[in-house]
Every structure is written in C-alpha cells, then in structure tokens.
Amino acid sequence: MDEKKQTKLLDQLESGPWPSFVKEIKKAAATNPAAGDLLGQLELSYEEKKVHWKHGGIVGVLGYGGGVIGRYSDVPEKFPKVAHFHTLRVNMPTGWFYASDALRTIYDIWERHGSGLTNMHGSTGDIILLGTTTDQLEPAFQELTQAGFDLGGSGSALRTPSACVGQARCEWACYDTMGVCNHVTHHYQDELHRPAWPYKFKFSGCPNDCVASIARADLSVIGMWKDEIQQDDAAVAEYAAAGLDIQKDVCDRCPAKCMNWDGKKLSIDNPECVHCMHCLNVMPKALRPGKERGAIFLLGAKAPILQGAVLSSVLIPFVPAAEIVDTLKELVSRIWEFWDEYGHNRERVAELIQRVGMAAFLDAIGLDPVPEMVAAPRDNPYIFFQKESDGSNGDDKG
C-alpha cells in the first residue's frame, strides 16, 4: 500500500453500529480511483483539521446556469484524481420514490461518468452525484436526460422544489403535495435551470411539516383543513380501552384547550382548534383532518446569512386544494414583478420584506392585511401613515 492510501484516522470510522460513510467511500474506491483520492484528501483534512477544497468553481452543462457545483482540490498534486471533483444535482422524483430499475439506470450512468459516490439525498432534496471531472459533465448530463432525468437548481436559481410523501402514503395530507410539487417543478423549468431568482418552494401536506418548509422555504405551502376534525368515537373508545390517557395525553396537551373528555365521549370545540396536529398524531385511527381541505401559504424562511434567520410567516391563511397551483403561480408572478423592480442581488424574499416593510410588500402584491398574518399588532407607535387621496392623513385604505 502506498503512503497516500493510508487512512489511519478515517479507518477508525469504519467500526461502530451506525453505517459508515468511510466504508462506502472504500467500496467505491475499489473500482474508482477518484473515490480513492477523495478518501486520501479527506484523511489529510482529518490530519490537518482543515478543508482542502478551493473556493467555488463555476462549471456546468450547456444552456443551464445551475445544477452543477464546481469543486477543485487545493492539493491536486497529491490527489490528482480529485483535482476536479464537481457534483451534479439531479432533480429527484417527487417524494423520493423510485423503482429499482430507475436507480440502476442512474447509477450505471454515474459509474461510467463519475466517482461512484452519491448522496441520497442532498439538503435541497436532489440526488447528488458526487464528484466528476469537467469533461464528463456534458456526457453524463446527456445520458441522464436520455434516461428521463434532469438537473436540479443551484446558486441563484430557483432551487429544486420538494414535497413530503403526501397523499401517496399519508392520511394527513390535506392536498396532493407531490402532484403540486411535480407540476410546479415542471412549470418553472426555466427558472430552475437559468437563474433568475434564488427562491425555494417546499410543500408539506399537514402542519407536521415533514419537509421543514416553514424553516427553509421562501414559499412554504402547508396542508390545512377548515372544517371539523373527522372523529370516530368508537376508535376513540378503543384508544382509551387500550390504555391511552386521553385527558392527560390528548386534552391537556392541546394548545387551544379546545378538547373535553368526560371518560366516555371526546368533544372538540372545532372553531377554537389551531390545527397543531397533536391529537391527530396521538390518535390517527380516531381523528382525521376535516373534509374541507387546502393549504396555508407562508412566506420568507431562510437561514441566518445575512441579517439573521427567519421563519416563514402567514400570507394566505387558507387556499382550497383545487386552487393551490393557480394561487401559487399568481402569487409568484406578483412577487417576481415586485422583486424585479426592487430586489437586490442575492436578496431573499424575507430580506426584501424586511427592507421595504411587510405593509408595503402587501400593497405591491395586492394582498389585504389580515390579523392571521401577525402574532400581535405592532407595539411601537412609529406608523408610516399614508396620504389619503384628499390630502389628509388617514388610516389604511384597505
């Protein structure tokens, strides 16, 4: 074994009960020298406690401005096989569903054109084909599209939209998250591949929010119902008989305190329900979302860079399921128009709203303010009163 193949530190991560990424790299390295050099460079990082990738890298496939993450080693003389080690983001099938043959197709292509390493999946939800050289990008891309797969978004492009499992395998999905996500992804192919704005859309079927849209998406679409929780009293009784303490574990945990259990009958004061999901999570057989279903639209989540992290906040409290796609497109076009005029480079929608003010933003996109949008009205008196058309100061024209 030559010197650079010795990986004494990484070898220690092969043991233990959790599956080992080092074993995976070694498996790939058995047939692919780039994976071997990746292991070598990673060992160097472990020895020196320092990253060994150069800054940035801008490579891609023809006609696209995103979908490939360029990487170059800063020690290419030691690890020539990872001198270029670019990543292709491949747009996953919505919901991350696969048939085994589809996986084989993708990874046969990747065996021919890349390192044989992958992430299932990356933080954006894409299939990450980890590490190849510049000259392999275009052939890999062409084989992928021949096989029916396309690249996802990166950089300043619309990021690959993602959705929870939704109606494919979840009784709580209040709209067809996968259908909507797939439709939206195809509708915005231009914006995904040719960066126009750096937004993220994520679709969760219920307020459990399994794709973390409220924390991560500029536009968070979260399933919601408007009518009464569907209740099966016999099933409630079964849970009670099976030992569930309905008073303590369900009613006392309800944030709206809208549930009452008299030992026989569970009653819910539905207009008081805040749709948190706790009671449904605890008694999935007995309680289900209502029948009038749709989604709540929230706007603006982002990580801390630049002026602090933001969670999405309520924009439209309820959109009926059948109107979600049209509402989304209309909303995006109005926000896009405003962003085109006033947005700054790299600015996420929350930052734009912070800069211009939510009220001005609502004016611009033509939405009326509603109390559901705020946790509380302002507590400072610094109000930008608008000039009325008659010249007097008045309240909001609404």
């Binding site: 940035g56 890298g57 801008i58 006609g63 401005g65 993450i69 990166s154 950089g155 126009a196």
Partner: protein
C-alpha cells in the same frame, strides 16, 4: 496557475478558465476566450451583452443582476443562453473579464 493558449497567445487563467489579470482586457482577448465558451463567432448581439456587462462592472464594480442585463440589452434570458450557452455568469462574464461569480455555485 494554468494557462490558456490560442493562436500562439498565452493567458494566465484559473481552473475555470477565468482570466487572472484584470488589466489586459480588450476585444481581441474576449474573442480568444469566446472559443472556450461554445461561442463560435462574436456577433453584434454578443458584443452588446459583453460590452454592457463590462461597462457596468467598470462603473459599479459588480456584475449586473440578470434581470437588469435582460432589461438593458433587450434580450430575454433564454436568448442570452442562446448567445452564451454556458450562461451569463460563466460565459458572458468570462468574456467581459469580470471576477468569477461566487456564492453557493
């Protein structure tokens, strides 16, 4: 540092083929680099985009935002990709000799 050679001329470039020395740009240089970005011939339309980007950079020190580029040159975004198949960031900015665009790229 790598070099890019064309017709006996030699340029110092980074690994993505971006010209290192900001001082040596002229139209002949842009033409030389066009060959690396799948631009067969620099037409009037190509120059319109490159010159706009170049002048914007000289004035403001940054690359114009994509939508501004479209608005000011009158090209739609997909037309810019037709002119520069590797895109405005990689292709057009490289020919206009701007610093390599950064971010989560």
């Amino acid at each position: 540092m790598a070099t890019f050679e064309v017709d006996g001329r030699s340029y110092e470039v980074d690994e993505d083929g971006f010209l290192q020395d900001p001082g040596i740009w002229n139209e002949a240089v842009a033409k030389d680099f066009a060959t690396t970005e799948s631009v067969a011939e620099m037409t009037e339309a190509h120059w319109k985009v490159v010159n706009y980007i170049r002048n914007y950079y000289l004035q403001f020190g940054i690359a114009p935002m994509v939508r501004k580029l479209c608005k000011e040159t009158g090209f739609k975004l997909n037309q810019i990709y037709e002119l520069f198949p590797s895109g405005p960031a990689k292709g057009a900015c490289k020919l206009a000799r701007l610093p390599k665009p950064t971010g989560c790229v």
